[in-house]
């Protein structure tokens, strides 16, 4: 194992668990995994039962990914794994070994918001904001696949994400706003 001093990218992460069972430490199964999160390479040692949502929130301290229902219904915990939207409360952390994770923190660059984030601001796509990260990542997966979706296609793609505040109208508008901006930015060919 290599440990680079300083530079956050080089730190090996440890997750401390509450010990509620009484196996000897050697009996506890652990797996070492390598993955990328928002472009940064990471190594982690995880118990196989650790959920991806916990790895992201507690392990990586990327708390933009929310857990709402914790029962695979609400989509607040949506992240992208190899570009595909998944509910991180319903995937094991060990399963991202060798894969690439994108969370809401990876959307903005140092100086600029992502067009989806701008769209949600321009079109008032959020109120409490709890569902927003999941909405934006589900929307990103759609726009990566289909840069010019119809309103119906946006609604369909977001139908696994629940919002208790907005009534969805402005979320749909926000995504369409972002789609238009992304198309305008795309190099013409």
């Amino acid at each position: 194992m290599q440990r680079r001093a300083g530079g956050k990218g080089g730190l090996i992460m440890t997750i401390v668990y509450s010990d509620r069972e009484d196996e000897a430490a050697a009996q506890v199964p652990m797996r070492r995994i390598k993955f990328t999160v928002n472009g940064e390479k990471k190594i982690a040692e995880v118990e196989p039962r650790l959920l991806l949502a916990h790895l992201i929130r507690q392990g990586l301290r990327l708390t933009g990914t929310h857990t709402g229902c914790d029962t695979t219904n609400c989509g607040a915990c949506t992240v992208l794994v190899d570009g595909q939207a998944v509910k991180s409360c319903t995937m094991l952390a060990v399963q991202v070994d060798g894969h690439e994770i994108q969370t809401v923190e990876g959307l903005a660059s140092a100086s600029e918001l992502h067009p989806l984030q701008e769209g949600f601001r321009e079109e008032h796509g959020l109120q409490c904001g709890f569902c927003t990260p999941g909405m934006m990542l589900a929307a990103k997966a759609l726009l990566d696949r289909n840069p010019d979706p119809t309103e119906e296609e946006v609604r369909w793609a977001l139908s696994g994400n629940l919002c208790r505040c907005t009534g969805y109208q402005n979320i749909v508008k926000s995504v369409l706003w972002a789609a238009a901006k992304l198309r305008a930015q795309a190099p013409a060919d």
């Binding site: 797996r31 196989p48 959920l51 916990h54 029962t71 939207a85 319903t90 094991l92 060990v94 399963q95």
Partner: protein, 292 residues
């Protein structure tokens, strides 16, 4: 919530997966899309000691047709692959209709058709679809492969015929005897809900005559129901208002619905008849549409 403690293996060959399952015995579980198993493990309704993740097994993501038209769906083919499939859109009307109605788009990115069959939830949509098409599951174990017809595969709610050291490697839909028609209709309270009522109808027709019919019902009994009498009412005849009505009422009779938070038994039975009639009416109108 988080699952109870388990050992985890992610083998790279089917043979290795089978060996691990054999060693794990009754306390081992296969993990495919995880969209049923992980929630159950978090609720501690399932507490396997060993989880064998099959997501690293190569070459199981396919769905493809053999030259003779037999359709094969690999164990890692996701609901979303089937939803976007041009092959299904062109050749499998019942499957193409069902794929977008499974769960929600994010769950569909992970969940698999084969996993859904294995899970044997009486409210699973694919079991009805595959049953209506006369399909089967191919299981691989230490002694090789065997094919299990869907009619035998599910042995009870959440129970299937697989031995603890067997993996379902693919689902198979036999080639059609003639032209395929059909559909799947599902009544759900909202996207992502399980079916209040689901109806799969699969026909194989030669000219106007129905050569084979399969009708199966989701969510209206303790397991998926094959409405054989309803299918028999169609076989050998052309689709007429009378044969459609006969099939619809036979299907409603085959249903064993229970009153629950999704609706009354009476309402569900009525919806079975309505859906059978709706799909068949659409099927009977199709050739005219094409000729136009």
């Amino acid at each position: 919530m988080y699952p109870s403690r388990f050992r985890y293996e992610a083998p790279h060959t089917v043979a290795e997966a089978i060996r691990l399952l054999a060693a794990g015995g009754d306390n081992a579980k296969v993990l495919a899309g995880g969209q049923s198993l992980v929630p159950l493990m978090k609720l501690r309704f399932a507490a396997p000691e060993l989880v064998v993740d099959i997501n690293n097994l190569p070459g199981l993501s396919y769905h493809r047709a053999d030259p003779d038209g037999t359709l094969r769906i690999g164990a890692l083919c996701r609901h979303a692959d089937l939803e976007r499939s041009a092959l299904l859109a062109g050749t499998q009307p019942t499957m193409a209709a069902a794929a977008p109605l499974i769960a929600d788009p994010i769950v569909r990115n992970r969940g698999t058709l084969v996993g859904s069959l294995c899970h044997a939830d009486p409210q699973g949509d694919w079991a009805s679809v595959v049953l209506s098409l006369g399909g089967s599951v191919v299981a691989e174990g230490p002694d090789g492969r065997r094919s299990i017809p869907m009619t035998d595969f599910v042995t009870g709610p959440f129970q299937n015929l697989l031995a603890p050291d067997e993996i379902a490697v693919e689902a198979v839909i036999p080639a059609a005897q003639g032209e395929r028609r059909g559909g799947y209709l599902k009544l759900e309270r909202r996207v992502g809900d399980f079916a209040t009522v689901g109806v799969a109808v699969s026909l194989e027709t030669a000219g106007e005559v129905v050569r084979r019919a399969g009708i199966a019902l989701t969510g209206v009994g303790a397991s998926t129901i094959a409405a054989s009498a309803a299918a028999a009412a169609l076989t050998g005849h052309s689709l007429t208002a009378e044969s459609i009505a006969a099939a619809a009422s036979a299907a409603a009779e085959a249903a064993r619905p229970r009153t629950d938070h999704r609706g009354s038994a009476e309402y569900k039975r009525h919806m079975v008849a309505t859906f059978v009639e709706r799909i068949l009416t659409r099927c009977s109108a199709e050739p005219a549409e094409r000729a136009a």
